[in-house]
Amino acid sequence: MATDDTTRGTDRRTLLKGAAAIGAVAAGAQLLPGAARYAQAQSSAPIKIGFQVHRTGIGAAYGRWYDRTTKAAAKLINDGGGINGRPVEIIAEDDGTDPKRGAEVIEKFATKHECDVAFGTLFSHVVIGSAPRAGELKLPYFVVSEGHHVASGMLNRYTLQPGITDVKSQVQSMAPWVADNLGKKVTMIYPDFAFGHDHRDYFSEAIERQGGNVIAKIAIPPRETSFFKYLPKIPKDTEVLYHVMVGPGVLTFVKEMGEYFGDKRPEIFGFIDSLEAVDIASPGLEFLEGSHFWEGYPRYAGENQSAHDKFYREAVGVDENGASLSDPKDVSTFAHMFGCWETLHILKAGMEAADYKGPKDRQALIEAVENMDVFPESRAHPQGSKLFNGRTHQAFGHQHISRVEGGKLVPVHKTSIFDTVYEDETDYTKMSF
């Protein structure tokens, strides 16, 4: 749970007050016609945002939807008068889901396109490979990666993650519900590389705090194409099977689990990362019926859809099932892509708070964002309210658990934000610019 230091000034009452205040400001802002505010600006030159996007490589499915979400958010911001009266221009470059190319793209944003800030991307290795160059070029780098690398202190003062929660907070917030509702004896199946190891380590600690324990940890080597030989390693007394398989082997993994267990299976809990951009009703995934998934943002709108969620889906072009409005088979990466939308709105708020005029105000922009602490649920934050820790440059927000019912994901639990908070591991504000 949070320390006093971490949650300083950000209790629930503050959250509600912040929501009311920011809601009033946002409503007022929406009354002003965009053209009027452009006219008041000292300069009408666009604010250039370099968008590092996975157009090719393993992250391409995520990149496609990050791109659409980013364009929709930029359009909304521009229709509302831009930032400080200046239009926003998104300059997208493919990072190839590769850290070397990612770093090159960051350099290109800073030195060729002369972007004001850089923004993106999902895969952790691209962010970690790019961040040193962003820091050296003193280019603010707003990432939507959900990796723990920002909050861990590995990166630098110019790298922030205000629009999406990180894997450590996601994983630890699942443990109370899993222990109370599914079981306390957990077997974990995870890919044998950093992403899987993070899940293994963070969840093992979290479930022990709930009085449970991980009775077996089954690491699957990368490139594995068949999983039958690993399934007998699952102990008979397993109550919950926790899986975080990713990549092209996921469908085989699910199919082979189904053949191995038949009707007698333990409870199954997974992370939707495995099946982002995949229709849950796809042939071969029937075995997942009745199992549970973490979702950063529920893919299916459901009965209690908020007005903000409705607005966000319409703007991005996503239907109530989380698929493209123009092609129902084109399923989105709904649990993650909201981070692009929210990050761009935070950039707008930060630039306006810093009275950003150009690259000389980059430090003021970072300090303005570091001083933020609450993002109330709104059109700018349709996923829900969030706390932002300026010291660790990391946002904390609600997490969701959904159950597969009839080939759809039905939300069954929403965590408190406070379940996701952990002690600070760094303080970027003490780092010089």
Binding site: D94, G96, K100, A103, T111, P132, E136, F193
Partner: protein
């Protein structure tokens, strides 16, 4: 010989002269390209001159990168000694792999080197606790100094990359024009005849492989300290393919081909991905109202077409073709 010395000196002098006049963008690109050209120069010694096509050179690049970066991260060594450790790691990897892989020839050599590289890649992932596996890790800007010089400074980085490239280029030119270099070329042309003349091809091939591995390792270590990152993706198979493409484009068996190929491929990818294909996608969207994200990401197709055309019309690479048609003395 004199013409060769003059040509290489001119290239190095031109790279020095470019430093103050390049825009910040091209300045940064050229520093990175020179590091990668070191890798390609090493690859060229094995492939271009000796005729051995390795599909596993990323393991040597990664050996240098991790040998250096882990010493800085875990042992808190300074850059200089850590760089030497990186190069030694690549040297040892080259000797071990050479002794085993050089027992095979042709496709067998390609497969064995590919398998060794895959094993190295998986080893990096397996020891995630130290290597941070697929995510990799950063090297703090504050420790990336050598002799009081800040390697993250753009000018220092440029000259550090240029120094390394110059050393490797001169070494490569010296090797290929030495007696041993002629034996390497002879092995490429007809290994049996070399054996019949009394030379031991295994010894010379091992020499080429070890020199190649050392240069690849030096490039990997340099990348880590100049750009502040080490990650497993540099050990993946595509990083074994890249130097092959750079050398094929520039001209296998020419000392300057690796640099030319690396420059051209870098800017081809950069221009195609950042300007040509997104521009086409934007035009389709504007003119026809059709979203065409696939078109924006199709730049690799453009790169592929360029390579096919190269193989069809200039199979010796650019400088190889220049040498065949215009400048026969080109080293």
């Amino acid at each position: 010989m004199i013409r060769s010395i003059l040509l290489h000196s001119f290239v190095i002098a031109a790279l020095v002269a470019l430093e103050p006049v390049l825009s910040e963008y091209h300045h940064g690109n050229l520093a990175r390209i020179m590091v990668l050209a070191v890798y390609a120069t090493g690859y060229n010694l094995l492939f271009g001159y000796t005729g051995l096509l390795s599909l596993g050179h990323a393991m040597f690049f990664a050996a240098g990168m991790y040998g250096c970066a882990l010493m800085i991260r875990l042992a808190e060594w300074s850059v200089g000694p850590a760089f030497v450790v990186g190069v030694i790691c690549a040297l040892i990897a080259g000797i071990v792999v050479g002794f085993l892989a050089l027992r095979t020839i042709g496709v067998g050599f390609m497969i064995v080197t590919l398998m060794f590289a895959e094993a190295a890649y998986l080893t990096i992932l397996y020891y995630n606790e130290y290597t941070r596996g697929d995510e990799g890790f950063t090297i703090a800007q504050s420790v990336r100094t050598i002799g009081g010089l800040d390697l993250s400074d753009t000018t220092t980085r440029y000259f550090a990359a240029l120094t390394l490239f110059s050393i490797c280029l001169i070494a490569s030119a010296a090797v290929v024009q030495s007696k041993a270099g002629r034996v390497l070329v002879a092995i490429r042309e007809n290994e049996d005849r070399v054996r019949m003349l009394g030379f031991d091809p295994f010894r010379y091939k091992l020499l080429a492989l070890v020199l190649s591995a050392v240069m690849a390792g030096a490039a990997g270590a340099a990348y880590a300290v100049l750009f502040g990152y080490a990650g497993a993706s540099f050990a993946a198979v595509q990083y074994s393919i890249f130097p092959l493409l750079w050398v094929l484009l520039g001209g296998p068996g020419t000392t300057l081909g690796p640099l030319l190929g690396t420059v051209l491929m870098f800017y081809l990818v950069d221009y195609a991905s950042g300007t040509i294909m997104p521009g086409l996608a934007g035009m389709v969207e504007t003119q026809f109202g059709i979203e065409a994200p696939g078109l924006a990401s199709a730049y690799l197709l453009l790169v592929g077409v360029a390579l096919v055309l190269l193989v069809l019309f200039a199979p010796r690479g650019l400088l190889g073709t220049v040498r065949a048609r215009m400048i026969p003395w080109l080293p």
